[in-house]
């Protein structure tokens, strides 16, 4: 009887898709929990939290709000093009481009003008900000990124180029301003 089989098919499809797409879950989780999971910042080569924040569209979108609220955009511009502060959308990281480096930069500040936000924002917020900052240079999975923000258009005008591909993230360069 034709009426029963689609049901079966649906169930098979459901199970198959569920197996294939399990990865979707962490991307979508609205993790409003209290604090970042491990208690301290480790400077080990790969902090387990990095991936967790980077692959979460929720954390990135929270970071996007803070980027505006904490006035990051005032210095680094909406799409990370820079201004008073260095650009974040390129492949050059003065103080390291890994998630944990960026969190350090945000929390502790850097000598050439980056203020320290430790005590002004929580560690969780710093991680979320870092995840968004990395997304400015198209670092995390593309499928967790929004197409645009509800702001003035900050896409490169009159060109179809995609954002520049990124170099390896360990490529840390020294501050360019210290020339004297």
């Amino acid at each position: 009887m034709s009426s029963r089989s689609p049901n079966k098919l649906a169930r098979i499809g459901l199970a198959g898709a569920a197996l294939l797409a399990l990865g979707a879950c962490d991307r979508e989780e609205r993790d409003t929990s209290r604090q970042p999971k491990p208690e301290t910042i480790s400077l080990a080569s790969s902090d387990p939290r990095a991936k967790e924040y980077e692959n979460s569209s929720f954390h990135i979108s929270q970071g996007q709000r803070y980027y505006s609220w904490m006035n990051c955009s005032g210095c680094h511009a909406l799409a990370g093009g820079g201004g008073m502060g260095p650009p974040l959308s390129d492949d050059e990281w003065r103080y390291g481009g890994r998630m944990e480096d960026i969190v350090q930069t945000i929390l502790k500040g850097r000598p050439n003008g980056m203020p320290a936000f430790e005590g002004r924002i929580t560690e969780q917020q710093a991680w979320q900000l870092a995840a968004f900052v990395r997304s400015l240079s198209a670092q995390p999975r593309q499928d967790v990124l929004p197409g645009r923000s509800d702001d003035i258009s900050n896409a490169e005008p009159q060109t179809l180029e995609e954002r520049r591909p990124q170099q390896s993230e360990s490529n840390t360069t020294l501050p360019s301003a210290e020339k004297d």
């Binding site: 609205r30 409003t32 209290r34 609220w69 509800d150």
Partner: protein, 341 residues
């Protein structure tokens, strides 16, 4: 209106335990707009129930008329003699429905017109700007002299009998401003400026709530409204225009120090202190409000503690982060906030 409607209530299958007399009720007559709408509601209810009664009677009669007469043959409509009177009935019915609807449309239109006409000139009204955020209300009173402006959050104080012209904006998604006792709702749409005239008639405390789905915490986006006599409002205004009371003892001093130098002041402002954050509710006279976090918790010492200790518990997803205060810090900050009368 309440009394006029009472006999009709059973028709709506709802027990007499319910009443329209609430602090957030469509039937409220506490504002000029709300009252006009409540009257119109009464007209509609009576008229439409009348029609419903006609239909019910007709249906009942039709169902019972030939009940039990089993017949396998096919009825010949032309032969039965009912066709002609029914056709006349249909015409009468159409006319009745059309006239009824015309009447209701007219009533609705006139109410709308008269409400619009009754609106005073915005220039003479109290000027209030409300900006909606996910998920709280930023409330600003503007005066000709900007230094008298008052900023508060999640509460609205109105002098009775004085029209208030409310300008509505949104910082993020679409919200809807709705204090049913005072007036109908009005959406706040990003990129647009909408407005609404509130003309409260009776003093009292009311509640408003966001009425357009706005994300995770749409349920916790309420607004406490106090309509009070003019003098009381003036007192409130003067008090709220003043900077916050300075800390008086060691504990509140410690709370003040934490608040103004740490995470709190990144987002919140307290007038008269260095805390000048603009992206979260202004807390200058926080403790004088009726509730915490846009109606999430009633104002009390315990709830202040609970809220600061874990804002994501009662209102998950809201923008206030878990900070992880030590017990003494929590104690101090809560005591300081509680002192902000």
């Amino acid at each position: 209106m309440r009394r006029r409607l009472l006999p009709l209530l059973p028709l709506l299958l709802v027990g007499s335990a319910c009443s329209v007399d609430g602090i957030q009720s469509v039937g409220g007559r506490d504002g000029q707009g709300g009252a006009a709408i409540a009257d119109l509601f009464g007209i509609f209810l009576v008229a439409t129930l009348l029609f419903a009664a006609v239909v019910a009677a007709f249906l009942g009669a039709a169902a019972l008329r030939r009940r039990g007469r089993r017949a396998d043959g096919i009825e010949d409509p032309e032969g039965s003699g009912t066709e002609r009177p029914l056709k006349t009935g249909l015409i009468v019915w159409i006319a009745a429905v059309a006239i009824g609807l015309f009447g209701l449309t007219l009533a609705s239109h006139l109410t709308d017109r008269s409400m619009a006409r009754a609106l005073p000139d915005p220039a003479s009204a109290l000027r209030i700007e409300i900006v909606a955020n996910q998920w709280w209300w930023d409330v600003r009173y503007h005066f000709r002299d900007p230094s008298r402006d008052v900023r508060t959050a999640n509460e609205l104080h109105l002098p009775a009998g004085v029209p208030a012209h409310v300008t509505l904006k949104s910082n993020d998604v679409i919200h809807s401003f709705w204090v049913p006792n005072l007036a109908g709702k009005q959406d706040l749409i990003p990129g647009r400026i909408t407005d609404l005239m509130l003309i409260p008639r009776k003093t009292g405390v009311y509640r408003g709530q966001c009425a357009e789905f706005c994300g995770m915490q749409h349920a916790h986006m309420a607004l406490d409204v106090t309509v009070e006599p003019r003098e009381a409002f003036e007192r409130w205004r003067a008090h709220n225009a003043a900077p916050a009371v300075p800390p008086t003892n060691a504990l509140t001093r410690a709370g003040y120090d934490y608040f103004t130098t740490r995470e709190c002041s990144t987002c919140h402002a307290i007038a008269g202190t260095p805390a000048s954050g603009q992206v979260a509710p202004d807390l200058t006279h926080f403790a004088s409000r009726r509730s915490i976090a846009a109606g999430t918790l009633p104002m009390s010492r315990g709830h202040i503690y609970a809220w600061i200790a874990d804002p994501q518990g009662p209102k998950p997803g809201n923008a206030m982060p878990y900070i992880g205060l030590e017990a003494d810090e929590l104690h101090a900050v809560a005591a300081y906030l509680e002192s902000l009368k």
